[in-house]
Symmetry: C2
Subunit: 520 residues, 2 copies
């Protein structure tokens, strides 16, 4: 007779979940045991919960399907929350399976007891605690459906240990469910969008979610080609497909003034998978407005709608269904001369980025020149820090590489950001993932140095100590080797190019510490 | 004119908070700036929030006073939650200062927006969001009072950026407050406890919180001396003072059967700062009962009461006020022969543990022999994993060393546990903290291998992969050096003794990787 844990794992497999990023504990042991009966589920051990959740985010962004996590009670979920926050902002499908104490144990307020569902609800569109093993198959099916979307979302199922270990005599919830209905499209929204785009007034499409890659992006480019609308996307897209031959999409600037400048003169802004653009932070005395006065904003899709389908129908409606979309010309920078800086390092990345790369970008200030330098590189995906919670880059690369083993993964990560989730490197080594990590080592929280002026805060000597990562200097080559990942340090342009080439050429993980000054 | 941020920092200083463990971001820049005006506040930079919160826990355990943290919005608080969970279970005073978006920015649902207070409430006895800079001085005073207890607790103040940057024209809340009233003592509870302890029936005192060190512990020992009551303490005490010349206190066993055995025959269990003992986990078909049938449990103190004062009054009531308490004889093991194992490593620690050491114990299975091996060592404090959330050890050592720079800190940490909060080592190096860390490298989540039998889960080959930390092997010497901490690896008893001696002799941090097999 199967038990509840087996129902969970087999239910995940039946719903198409193929990977479990796990950091389990005692209360999850029956779930761990059930993995042995599920050869179609790949367990991937992570040595910190933030690695597991960030990996699930990366996997979901690259496949459109949820991976599961396996986490240990409230503290385990808590450790994974920052990267679940990023996944939530990315609209990534993720299914968390969080073990809990046996139900009869909860009243005892044992040391690990805490309010798991309160934690889960801060990041999850769907949260449920299981109470009966007979319902678990159905609980899991609901969780996967909630995660799948559209749009994708975080779903969290809390499984008490006694519900997991109980025998399942009969699946109470074994109702056959129809295939999850595909997101609908609002005809009215389509017609209105088509009308304003054909009006001749300045218009722009703002892409996000599923509109920044694949068929959605191609349809958006056709719409732009047929109507003259500009193609913009969110400042931090979950997955932007770009490079030579692909439609060029402008990312909205991070600074409010930059984003407002990009939208100046736009009379009609059509959101396709994106939210109304807002500043990342508020600053004293500064405008918090990005969308210009007199600009009408309308949403092509909305909750529950499939923005990819909507864009294809919009392309047909504006006569762009067969239009040749604008395509980015191929073009790479050369490996430059001069000192190794964020700017010259970006040129090196642009010169060497391989065809089909999955780029994970948590380079923050050191990444300022990367988008331009790689715009005409061979086609690739660009994954960004959607939610602003640091520590995303290394784990996201784990998930992307598990999802797409045939593609090179390039993680471009700031030194400060890398410190939050270092054990991701160990999982890269363990799983033999083809990830080349570049750590931009400027030995500072340089973003804070830049932000203080915008914030009107004149940080003095004591405060500036809190931006300093240089005392002592972190040695990322040693840190990588400690995790089983070969690594090298570059202090010259040639050295960086040589190490990056090596990392890209070798299978398995490699890390390059790229020593650069903070940008001025 | 001061601003809100200056009110926060000066308010903390005025309330006696001397250290701020910080991992700030843009929304905290005015708070960072205010540190420059507060030379009596020591900012300590941590490169991960879990380090900041664990350090605050260690500091609070060693001083009885709260340190503050400085964290970045919801994701920053989330990263710190596992160690705040441990602090909550330890009854440690901690004041979290969490920056948030400007109030007028919150409605925009910007990328970093999330439900901070929901997160805070899962670990905090006191949570408040500030809305007006004029009230901040009072908000901070309330936060510190709530944290101070008794018992100590986590208090979280959420400070929106615009409340921090606003000018404070007049302190609206500048009411002078009386000194925080000391916890009261229930006369009735004292009388009842004294009566049962003098009844001649088998009785035990179960110590926790402030009763396991200092005057509380000494009074408890006098009570035991005068009445014959046994002295027990919680399985995972926040800070147990022990060693030669100190009262020997038995820790309740981790396994339910062990703890139940220790309490067998006890007719009266008097709780002093402890909760009713319960099993850590529930197991299928096993009793969840630790306290024997027929044993009456009564609480000497309770919410808001000062257990140290209560114990001193109880000692006087039972005529033990002047009794000589039982004291542990001095005695150390010798450095043993044989292979390096968890057992022989414990003997080495026992042989070398210096006078006045602060021992942070997150050694888990490899620590099985440590309590016995160190029982007769020179007096020291023993800090344990109160909440079961892994990743406590390295950060706790940071806080303990900041709190007690004159004492050697010895962190005994399992390899799996060390991986959650490695950047604590960098802060140790940066601050020149005298911490000697021993990582017991058994290359396994060995606790799960032991728990599976108790759990009745027969984990197979696929599941057992999730207990394996040996592929690839972690190199903690490289990891430590990468963080700026000198380190060495021991594979023999002599080598371990030599490296531990070196670490204890040298000022500043040192790490010993102690390679041991998993316990059978």
């Amino acid at each position: 007779m199967p038990n509840g844990a087996q129902s969970v794992i087999s239910g995940l497999v039946e719903a198409g979940v193929q990977v479990c990023f796990a950091n389990p504990g005692t209360s999850e042991l029956h779930l761990v045991t059930a993995l042995d009966d599920a050869p179609r589920m790949r367990p991937v051990l992570c040595l910190f919960e933030g690695v597991a959740t960030g990996a699930a985010d990366g996997y979901g962004r690259m496949t459109g399907r949820p991976a599961s996590t396996l986490l240990h009670l409230g503290p385990g979920l808590a450790g994974g929350l920052p990267n679940l926050h990023n996944a939530r902002r990315a609209g990534t499908p993720v299914v968390n399976v969080v073990g809990d104490h046996a139900l009869r144990h909860k009243r005892l307020d044992a040391p690990l007891e805490s309010d798991i569902t309160a934690l889960a609800r801060t990041v999850s569109a769907w949260t449920r605690r299981a109470y009966d093993a007979a319902d678990l198959a159905d609980d899991v099916a609901d969780a996967v459906a909630a995660a799948a979307g559209p749009p994708g979302a975080v779903a969290t199922l809390v499984v008490p240990a006694d519900v997991a270990w109980a025998d399942v005599e009969k699946h109470a919830g074994a109702r056959r469910r129809a295939a999850v209905p595909h997101g609908f499209v609002s005809e009215r929204a389509l017609e209105e969008a088509a009308a304003v785009l054909r009006s001749g007034e300045p218009a722009a499409l703002l892409l996000g979610g599923a509109a920044t890659h694949g068929a959605g992006l191609r349809a958006a480019a056709q719409v732009a080609g047929a109507t003259g609308a500009r193609l913009l996307c969110e400042t931090f897209p979950a997955r932007l497909e770009r490079g030579a031959g692909l439609p060029p999409v402008e990312r909205l600037g991070y600074r409010t003034a930059d984003a407002a400048g990009q939208l100046a003169g736009v009379r009609h802004l059509v959101l396709a998978g994106a939210s109304v653009p807002v500043p990342f932070f508020a600053y004293p005395g500064q405008s918090g407005v990005v969308v210009p006065d007199g600009c009408e904003v309308r949403d092509l899709g909305g909750a529950g709608q499939d923005v990819g389908v909507a864009l294809r129908e919009l392309a047909a409606a504006v006569g762009g269904g067969t239009a040749a979309a604008v395509a980015r010309e191929p073009g790479r920078p050369r490996v430059p001369g001069g000192d190794l800086t964020a700017e010259t390092a970006a040129a090196v990345v642009g010169a060497l980025l391989p065809q089909g790369a999955v780029v994970v970008d948590e380079s923050n200030t050191s990444g300022l020149w990367l988008p331009d330098a790689t715009a005409g590189a061979p086609p690739h995906d660009w994954l960004t820090l959607t939610g602003g919670a640091l520590g995303q880059g290394l784990p996201l690369a784990v998930g992307a590489a598990v999802a797409r083993p045939e593609r090179p993964v390039v993680a471009l990560v700031a030194d400060g950001a890398a410190m939050y989730t270092l054990p991701a490197l160990w999982t890269q080594a363990r799983e033999g993932l083809d990830v080349t990590t570049v750590v931009f080592s400027n030995r500072a929280y340089a973003i804070l140095g830049l932000e203080q002026a915008m914030m009107g805060a004149s940080v003095g000597a004591a405060g500036r100590e809190l931006f300093d990562l240089g005392r002592p200097e972190l040695d990322f080559v040693a840190l990588a080797r400690g995790m089983g990942v070969p690594a090298g340090r570059a202090t010259t342009v040639e050295g960086f190019a040589s190490l990056l080439e090596r990392g890209l050429a070798e299978p398995g993980p490699f890390l390059v510490e790229c020593v650069v000054p903070p940008i001025a």
